[in-house]
């Protein structure tokens, strides 16, 4: 190889082709995704994220929650995501269009959270219960005590105070970050249907099983 300019052109095109094919290709496909209007429910999905949940997303990101939790449900039959109750259908790109930074995650040291809000609602878990889990730790999850502040009781105790978490004369209240984080977690719902996410049934399933 002696031809300098040609060499650099080659280097550049190697990167450029993958950039054009992958990055630009996917951008034209998904960049303009709009919410899906569900005739049956007369509502568009996904729903916009409340402002406090958007703040919570930043807390989730900066604490690195994504190093233990994913937020992506694999399709039924591919892994045990459905059997573990993480979601009835696979997550698709449209589910994330309103999230400033989707926290798809790479590790499942803890459960998937793509439908945490749905699960919490079904189990009747209140924000206070989720806050208590954050304070105490839960199963293998460490306690996030620094998201709470202990302050001297001054007059009426705060309505948000955790029960029994502080000595007499003090109360334990969640910080704004903790409340935002919980609001974000409870906003995680993929319980609606999207046409591209509907389960696909191969014509001859015996052949596919061998895949």
């Amino acid at each position: 190889m002696k031809n300098g300019p040609l060499f650099f052109l080659g280097l550049f095109s190697a990167l450029g082709i993958s950039w054009a094919g992958l990055v630009i290709g996917i951008n034209t496909q998904l960049g303009g995704l709009s919410p899906y209007f569900d005739e049956a429910q007369e509502a568009a999905f996904p729903a916009r994220i409340p402002g406090i949940a958007e703040q919570g997303l930043r807390v989730y990101r900066d604490l690195g929650c994504a190093s233990c939790h994913t937020q992506q449900v694999r399709r039924p039959g591919f892994g045990a995501d459905q059997a573990r109750g993480w979601g009835e259908r696979q997550s698709v790109a449209r589910d994330y269009i309103y999230q400033s930074q989707p926290q798809l995650g790479t590790m499942r040291i803890g459960p998937d959270l793509a439908n945490y809000g749905t699960r919490a609602e079904e189990a009747g878990r209140t924000p206070a219960a989720v806050l208590a889990d954050l304070y105490n730790g839960h199963a293998g999850m460490p306690a996030y005590r620094f998201l709470f502040a202990q302050r001297k009781l001054d007059g009426e105790p705060s309505a948000k105070a955790l029960v029994g978490g502080a000595p007499a004369g003090y109360e334990l209240v969640p910080t704004a970050r903790a409340e935002a984080l919980v609001a974000y977690l409870l906003s995680l719902k993929q319980s609606y249907d999207l046409p591209e996410a509907m389960p696909y049934e191969p014509a001859d399933s015996t052949k596919e099983a061998a895949q």
Binding site: M1, K2, G4, F7, F8, G10, L11, A14, L15, S18, W19, G21, L22, V23, I26, N27, L30, G31, L33, D62, L63, G64, A66, S67, C68, Q72, R74, R75, F78, G79, A80, A83, R84, Q90, S91, V92, A93, R94, D95, Y96, I97, Q99, S100, Q101, P102, L104, G105, T106, M107, R108, I109, G137, A139, G140, M141, P142, A143, Y144, F146, Q211
Partner: protein, 471 residues
Amino acid sequence: MTTALPTKVQPGADENEQACGGPLLLLIGSGLLWLVLGSALALLNLIQIYTPAFLADCAWFTYGRLQAMQETALLYGWAGNAGLAVALWVLSRLGGAPLRGTNYIVAGGLFWNLGVTLALVGIAAGDAAGHAAFQLPRYVQPLLLFSFAAIAVPGVLAWTGRRNASTYAGQWYAVAALFLFPWFFSVASVMLTFAPVRGTLQAVIATWYAQNLFSLWLAPVALAAVYYLLPKLTGRVIPNYDFAVYGFWSLLFFGCWLGGRHLIGAPVPAWVSTMAIANAWVVLFHHIIVFFNVRDLFRSGSGTVMRFLAVGTGAYLLSAVVDTAFSARALAVVTQFTYFQQAQGQLALGAVALILTGSIYYMTPRLAGGVWPSVGLIRGHFLAFAIGFVLLVASLAVAGWIQGSALNDPAVSFAQISERTKVWLQLATAAQAMLLAAHAVFALHFAKFIVGQMAKCCAARPLLAAEVTVS
């Protein structure tokens, strides 16, 4: 095959090297500091997995942040500094002239390390960008980009101003690494941080970036060192060298498509991961050619530098086979989201680290003059490094397989999973502790060497050309 060696030794070759030695030694030295720090953080991080309460009360050291910190320290601090030093050195040697513009290296190196320091503090304080292998806070990204460009300038000058019109494989890989990093880094910086794309597109770009960081930066730097050092050490021409050029271009053209194998089943169109899986097979062509080219490494096991290169290259080739095999959807369904993927990452990065370490052992005496104070320490480092590395990768892989199989069985709870993987993670911790000790010895040895040379340097000039090599 031997070629007639010129009898005339280049005059003053070593003096030239000492002229440019300082800046490169600065990069190597700071790289070693990051290596030790990164390994220490990685050790704490591993302990946290099965001891959730460990350091949990301090926001700066939550598991997530610590992981981002150790990854950044090792990728940008250690591999960044050391990789730059090795690439520049290979280019200057093969270019046949001392590096020009070394001030750029010093200035760039200072700012690069300032950037990595800021990045670590920023991540600890909660400013991480939140993408695997791209955790750098937004204010650090431009700084790193410009420092990299500054450091790369002498490399480009060494290429354009080379003495021979013809070029060698070591140069291609080194130039490719130096030239391409700023491009994909700036694309990632713009599309992920400064003008972020929507939704899960970010995941596609983040995996594209992470793959490029390996395929277009770390791997080429390591290969540049192997291609350069192998004929130096054996005195033989690389066998089947006429294929090296195909190996080079197949890595470049197919390697950057592999990122999507981390997105199997993810909320991105299926073709992204399908494309990656298909390319994972095609890129094996590169690895086959590299194997044919460097097979002498595995034949003559003499010399510690050679051993570092051999284990490193072996791990590099093995890593490609493992990555390809486990990108198949039937296997990925088990290993995805588990420690197994961490094992794959450690295998690939460890391969690069081994090659960089071997290169540093080779080049430092030539840059600083003199000989390494202790051959025993080098051998000890090699043994500890190799054993720790194999143990770490193996135990993480086993833990990951157990974890993945258990995750796919809905009857197994998360508590049971952590119970079953605990012993393997403890083994991985032991391995990481061993690596930390090994790297600490390496860094101290390097410091002792440099301090000794500096003392000598001040005591007596001129210095005789050093002829002793470690190997």
